[in-house]
Symmetry: C2
Subunit: 341 residues, 2 copies
């Protein structure tokens, strides 16, 4: 149908190889010929067929993105879109395409990944989460395809390129921040402990206490398995005889849930309860009150992971360097000094 390299060659009176070389701007072709060929391409409306090129080059200049299971979860939380934005930005700079998994169950996603890899549809992958018992990462290792994970891998960390925050530190910082404000009773609304990030945040939370020689009651620690269970967890924690005066919350979205519960049960934020959450996504500014949140620089997380991946695709490195993106606390109105009794 469409005009091919052959047509151009014939029309321009050269060989197809010449046209191909013009396409890649090879120095073996004289300027004069290039100009002539380019003119013909223009006239005939030629455009390169990427599929043909992909086939022979054994590369697609496309990366695959593996979303967290349950697109719904990924999508509602602004985390995924933001990391995607970062990835997207770097890919565009490097003229790489993006291909998404479409599955909505863990198994379906796994199949998507296999198809991408074996079908040679992508040159590399970004895994946008790190989860216990996940099959994707082990598979990718075995396959030998370049990939990077956003978050700290559960297994074989030294063989995997990853981009992450220091979540232990970040959580420690958040907790320490509340301690400095004078809070003695701090609760944690964490996440599903199957995800590495939840585990790290819990550790940081505990460490901050330990450093000060403080014990934390188990009742102050909740790790709801899914976003839907957050409210329940918050209610439980606030129903304790001695409820915490502040909460470290694993993400902004959950913090909004917290805010709702407080509104329900008539507890004022920050007057009666301080909140620090994570990610500093755009809802922080828009909630009432605006949320103090640990900025995890999600965009950077995405951008750097794309950079690492594409570097690796271009020339595989022997040693797998990983990258830690710094975090900082963005203070807003959801946190204040501990109420005096």
């Amino acid at each position: 149908m469409s005009v091919t390299i052959k047509d151009v060659a014939k029309q321009a009176g050269v060989a197809t190889s010449t046209v191909s070389r013009v396409l890649s701007d090879s120095p073996k072709i004289s300027e004069k010929t290039k100009r002539r060929v380019r003119k013909v391409m223009e006239e005939m409306g030629y455009y390169l067929n990427e599929n043909a090129r992909n086939l022979v080059q054994q590369s697609t200049k496309t990366i695959g993105i593996v979303m967290k299971h349950s697109t719904s979860q990924s999508m509602h939380d602004p985390f995924f879109p933001e990391v995607l934005r970062g990835i997207s930005s770097y890919c565009h700079k490097q003229d790489f395409g993006i291909s998404l998994t479409t599955g909505d169950s863990e198994e379906a996603i796994f199949q998507d990944v296999i198809k991408m890899v074996q079908g040679k549809k992508v040159d590399g992958l970004i895994v946008s989460y790190s989860k216990k018992g996940d099959k994707v990462v082990p598979y990718l290792i075995k396959s030998g395809i370049p990939f990077v994970v956003v978050g700290k891998p559960i297994v074989q960390q030294n063989q995997i390129i990853y981009v992450d925050n220091d979540n232990v530190q970040a959580s420690k910082d958040a907790t320490e921040y509340l301690l400095q404000l004078g809070h003695q009773r701090i609760g944690l609304i964490g996440g599903n402990r199957d995800y590495e990030v939840a585990e790290s945040r819990l550790n940081g939370f505990l460490q901050a206490h330990r450093i000060r020689g403080m014990e934390v009651s188990d009742h102050y620690i909740k790790n709801p398995k899914s976003p839907g269970l957050v409210k329940q967890a918050v209610r439980e924690i606030m129903n304790l005889s001695k409820p915490p005066t502040s909460l470290v919350v694993t993400d902004d979205f959950s913090a909004m849930n917290v805010l709702q519960v407080m509104r329900e049960i008539g507890i004022k934020v920050p007057e009666q309860l301080s909140i620090v959450s994570f990610n500093n996504t755009s809802i922080c500014e828009l909630s009432s009150p605006p949320l103090t949140s640990v900025d995890t620089q999600i965009y950077q997380l995405g951008y750097e992971s794309a950079r690492c991946l594409i570097d690796e695709v271009k020339e595989p490195s022997e040693v797998k360097r990983s990258i830690i993106i710094p975090t900082f606390i963005k203070e807003r109105e959801s946190s204040s000094v501990v109420p005096k009794y």
Copy 2:
């Protein structure tokens, strides 16, 4: 490198054509042969190379998604992620892949699209917005590739497949809803009028008034060009000597902005000001107070657009049918009867 159809053929003692037929489960091949070939494929670890198939079939079983200019805008608003979720879901069912534009300027996106289309990387496209002066849609029409737009196309509506709400009606409903609550002074916080949706919502808003023979002051109508200008617009509108008692707001995100301003200037929602917004995204439930919002069924919008597109890819239709997704008002706490003075 990897094992090809030829290797399998040799190993199984059949021709490549036979292997290919086994792959596509052709009825021309006996069950016995199929079993044998499949076993060999299994043993050798064969996997089909999609690029090779794409080349000969002239099709990629992949659709491209054109995001609204400024990924940032697309991404912060949960609209895009949600429509993507719907698209994704249907694509997965049909075993289609998804490819995203990566550009972050209108021009860059346009180039992405050209590359996808001319490079034959996709079988069709979904344009996730409808904007005045947009170059993508006209280009797609000219190219002849199947595509559908989410939203009502500005030009040549009858030649374009689109999936949309009846935004005029939806806006009329929202306005009527407030009128019924007794509000006499209703303001509109709309969107950038370059987008079709903003225009329609404005019309619906006006129509609802007209039906009752009411006039609307221009001062009550704001169409900030970008999300950043929403707050400013809200302040202006509330500074009028006779400010509105209720607001129709073009999306939930903007409504959150409204809420913030109200908090700043000490106006209580819904006691002193009612708000109805659009989209009924997840923040509605989480805001304080929870937002009354017109559910536009974004997920469905995405799902149906994917369905239309893939149908069209499979067999191009002569007449371009479009689809209107119904809307309904989800009442929450941001709206109430007009305050009595």
